[in-house]
């Protein structure tokens, strides 16, 4: 057995609550050292370190070894997470109802309202996921709830960007050919850049300010 490895593993186990260590430390050390027989390592592998850290966090926040103060904090955080998810779920439900009730009707009457439909489409994409995350949290399926929150957070960032691009295309009404600016010499031998008329006037209808591709900003 490697004494340095044992010393390092015991130091890692100090992350665990004292009450837990008293009951399990010797057995954990024995199991860990047994698992390293035949392997030339002098410090606990990353996976083992992470598993002990995760156990320490769980025990200190929610386990029977957690201090009364930590348990109060954990319950407060849990309640806050539940209320935050409930708020988002309600917001999403209202958003979906509003989208179905008004935007679809408006789209039938005024086809141009498709733009408004795009604006609330984010709610339709992310709304059901917020509701599902709340239901999972309330039912104690915390792993599923965490995964859903991660997915919906990613969509919240990614979807509006795509929608902005789509809306820009619709508002623009038609695609315009990207214009590349290049200096050239006109018939009179003067240097000009594209987007500039022979009289020197700017042709912003071809290439609006701030636009790189020729699409409206």
């Amino acid at each position: 057995m490697n004494p340095d490895l044992e010393r390092r593993y015991r130091r890692l186990l100090r992350l665990l609550p004292a009450g837990y260590r008293q009951g399990w430390e010797e057995d954990m050390v024995s199991a860990f050292l047994h698992s390293t027989v035949g392997r030339r390592i002098d410090r606990p592998p990353l996976g083992e370190r992470l598993s002990v850290i995760a156990l320490a966090v769980r025990l200190r926040l929610a386990g029977q070894h957690a201090s009364p103060q930590a348990q109060v904090w954990y319950r407060a955080l849990d309640t806050f997470a539940l209320l935050a998810l409930l708020t988002w779920a309600l917001y999403a439900t209202v958003g979906i109802a509003a989208m179905i009730g008004t935007s679809l009707w408006a789209t039938v009457v005024y086809p141009q309202a498709i733009i408004g439909l795009l604006a609330v489409w984010g709610t339709v994409v992310t709304g059901p996921l917020w509701i599902a995350a709340f239901v999972c949290h309330a039912l104690g399926r915390l792993t599923v709830a965490r995964a859903l929150v991660l997915v919906v957070a990613g969509l919240t960032v990614a979807v509006p960007r795509r929608l902005d691009q789509a809306r820009t295309r619709l508002i623009g009404g038609r695609w315009r050919r990207p214009v590349t600016c290049r200096r050239h010499r006109d018939g009179a031998g003067r240097h000009r850049t594209c987007g500039q008329s022979a009289t020197g006037q700017s042709t912003q209808d071809i290439r609006p300010a701030g636009s790189v591709t020729g699409l409206p900003a």
Binding site: E26, V29, S30, E48, S51, I53, L55, L59, Q64
Partner: protein, 109 residues
């Protein structure tokens, strides 16, 4: 019941095992899919002992250290039976659905 917890309980069915013995048995039972770290194993064991599904069987000296063996209780056996039945029912439902789709595909072609 999570998959690692299910395999830890299943590993103890039949004979008591020590910590590293459970890790090896879980690895074998799961076909190498579930490789428990020591920290994860003792988190599970602590919870199972607290719930009365696993208990200490004996302590033995091994290379100058005390090694603990754990055994499954009757409540633990009952929990494994219930979980195995639930998983088997799920598997049957999925298999039935797959067979019906295969039949439809066969008829279509």
């Amino acid at each position: 019941m999570s998959e690692p917890t299910f395999f830890v309980l299943t590993a103890l069915v039949g004979e008591p095992r020590h910590g590293y013995g459970i890790v090896g048995e879980v690895d074998q039972l799961s076909g190498g899919r579930v490789r428990l770290k020591v920290g994860s194993l003792y988190g599970i064991l602590d919870r199972l002992v607290g719930e009365g599904l696993v208990e200490l069987d004996r302590e033995e000296a091994y290379q100058g250290r005390l090694r603990r063996y754990y055994r499954i209780t009757n409540a633990g056996l009952e929990a494994v039976r219930a979980e195995a039945a639930r998983q088997a029912a799920n598997a049957r439902a999925a298999s039935r659905r797959l067979r019906s789709i295969n039949l439809q595909l066969g008829e279509a072609s």
